[in-house]
Amino acid sequence: MSTYTSANVWPVWTSTSYTTSTVSQSSDATSTWGGWVGCDYSNGTSATTSTITYTDSSAIWVYWAEEPTLKAISKEEQTANDERWAKEREESRKRAKKLEADKKAAEKKAKELLLDLIGEDELKVYEETGRLFVKGRKFDYIVNKGGYVQKVDKNKIIDLCVHIQNRYTYPETDNVVGMKLAIEGNEEEFLKIANHHSPRDIGELPRAACM
């Protein structure tokens, strides 16, 4: 069996013609690299292949990092591992499914809240367009379901970066309701908090739900 250890595998890898009394063959960077990345490494000379026992990249890594005697995994252990991984994958799938269902239910509730504020007809428009038109005291705004707000200033539009805190943990429509209330409740403060982008021209306002 090869006696590579963490102390000598690095020089073997990086130097040419490295030889010590514990490594029974001459090796060089190319052959060690071959051993690390390849399977069933052989440098082509019978003298060397007979002394190198590692066979793949995981084997040499173990020698390098821990120096244990490499043990082949038994069939029973492999089966147990496969079963454990399959169970973990199944649990992970269930968690993702539940998360998705919770998210849908939360969004449904958020739309019910918006329904109480804008009525059935406008909710339909919101569901079609994903936009809510909000009238402030100074400006008009388009609140987008995707999470951004546009301030309408005459024939210009200014994108505003503003949202409820930790918005990604809340339903999208709750963020829309939050923006609507923040604009109506205290427009000055809302504009102070929002980050403004450069104004741009707009031809026609997009369709949006309004009250």
Binding site: K109, I164, G185
Partner: protein
């Protein structure tokens, strides 16, 4: 008269309902309102007639509907 508070949460909003004539219910709703305000939530009194919401600093047991919203932040 029935009133309600809708508290935004990660699983959708939670409803708190109270009757203005029931002191215990009003007190419980007010306690919850104060606790959320301390956490930084904003409170808005809204009507179901589509009129703009109004920010309120103190609990109003006769507001009709209060919506509690997490504070806003610039992106």
């Amino acid at each position: 008269m029935k009133n309600e508070m809708r508290i935004m949460g990660t699983l959708g909003d939670t409803k708190v309902i109270w009757d203005t004539e029931n002191e215990d219910e009003v007190e419980a709703a007010e306690d919850q309102f104060d606790a959320l305000k301390e956490k930084g939530f904003k409170a808005y009194a809204v009507k179901k007639d589509g009129k703009p919401g109004k920010e309120i600093k103190k609990f109003d047991s006769e507001a009709g509907m209060i919506i509690m919203v997490p504070k806003i932040a610039g992106g």
